[in-house]
Amino acid sequence: MNMKNKSLISINDFCKEEYLQILDLATYFEKNPNQKILEGFVVATLFFEPSTRTRLSFESAVNRLGGRVIGFSDAALSSTTKGESLADTIRTVSNYADLIVMRHPIEGSARWASQVASVPIINAGDGSNQHPTQCLLDLFTIRQTQGTLDNLDIAFVGDLKYGRTIHSNVIALSHFNTTFHLVSPEELKLPSAVKMHIKSNNLQYFQYTDLEEVIPKVDIIYMTRIQRERFADPIEYERVKNSYTLTKKMLEGSRENLKILHPLPRVNEISVDVDLDPRAYYFKQALNGVYIRQALIASILGLA
């Protein structure tokens, strides 16, 4: 695949072979994270809404490759507060950078930006729509922990209804003969459109409301946060919150190769007593984000 000068907007723009090529290149950067291939290049990180982790991960990737970063981390610091359109901001910044990484609360903003920019765009999240680098780093992490992406049993836990990350992961993993174990409260089940996607790929899914039941059956547990705002009834939230907290005790009887992932930040859905367990993998997962972003930036700038 030639990604040179192409924007990275949505996980739906890729096929299986393309995912694998990016993961292979990320494996190369995992082994060689510091090299000066980006010397003389400027990358803009435009965060119209704050997301410190994602921004730092991108900036770390650029810095480790010897490039320079410009940008802002909050729309309040940008000219959009003066009423400038996104299109104008992007056209202007195109003059200052070789590549733009952007995060924006409005859905479809990254696709639109890629049409008006004269340099490639990497989507670092457009509202509840897409966050493709997160999805790729999750695939990378799953492969790293299991040695393969094929034929795995993967549990997704928490807010499956609104979780953008989960929808993208389900779609991407559908290329790899995954069996999906979907654990959520009744009111936060995976949307039927995503379930239809699983079915249309002739794959299986199982739905659960009980977290403990699923633990012995899977290779990966992907935990996500359940947000208070999703519940009309605060008592219901309190009940649900506690029943979807993973503790070390619950992990007894798990498969030996089980690894626990989480896109972070975590609130209380994984108890801290899990952190030192060898099955906990979420901090390593965050580190993998740097390698994936290095791989993407290097490919898009034609350096790899």
């Binding site: 859905e107 479809g108 903003s109 639109w112 509202g127 509840s128 729509n129 459109a193």
Partner: protein, 154 residues
């Protein structure tokens, strides 16, 4: 006056041009907007609530000295799926065709997702038609689906 000739008066013949027949009456103005007939220099005749054997009630538009390519014609299929396009040259019917739902719908439908960029900035909407029968449109920008019952024209 015989009914036949009265009918002729209502729908008077044109020498060259296009007749769009069997438009649902309520969609006539919409079709005219989609085909840019509101600002055209061509002579345009239109009628609504005319008798139709097939549909009971119909609208019709005639445009003198103007012919449409398939891409333009297919745009009206969303609002007027029953429409027939008749091309006339020298008072003769040269061709008759049905409007067909296109693969891509651009610039005529609003995205139903209020958080979509097309509802914030001056972006021409663009959808891929993922289901022609039930009319489901996938937004090129926010990747959400606008269903038939939620379609609103710009």
């Amino acid at each position: 006056m015989k009914p036949e000739s009265r009918k002729k008066l209502i729908v008077s013949a044109i020498q060259n041009g296009t007749v769009i027949d069997h438009i649902p009456s309520h969609a006539v103005i919409q079709v005219m907007r989609i085909l840019n007939l509101i600002q055209t220099d061509h002579q345009v005749l239109f009628g609504m609530n005319l008798d139709s054997k097939k549909y009971g009630n119909k609208g019709i538009i005639k445009i003198r000295d103007k012919f449409f390519d398939d891409v333009e014609i297919n745009k009206i299929a969303l609002v007027a799926p029953t429409a027939t396009l008749i091309e006339i040259r020298d008072f003769e019917v040269i061709s008759k065709k049905q409007a067909e739902i296109p693969d891509i719908v651009e610039g005529i439908v609003k995205c139903f997702n209020p958080k979509c960029i097309t509802n914030y900035e001056q972006v021409r909407t663009r959808f891929r038609v993922i289901d022609k029968q039930n009319l489901r449109l996938l937004c090129h920008y926010c990747e959400k689906i606008t269903k038939n019952e939620n379609i609103e024209f710009i």
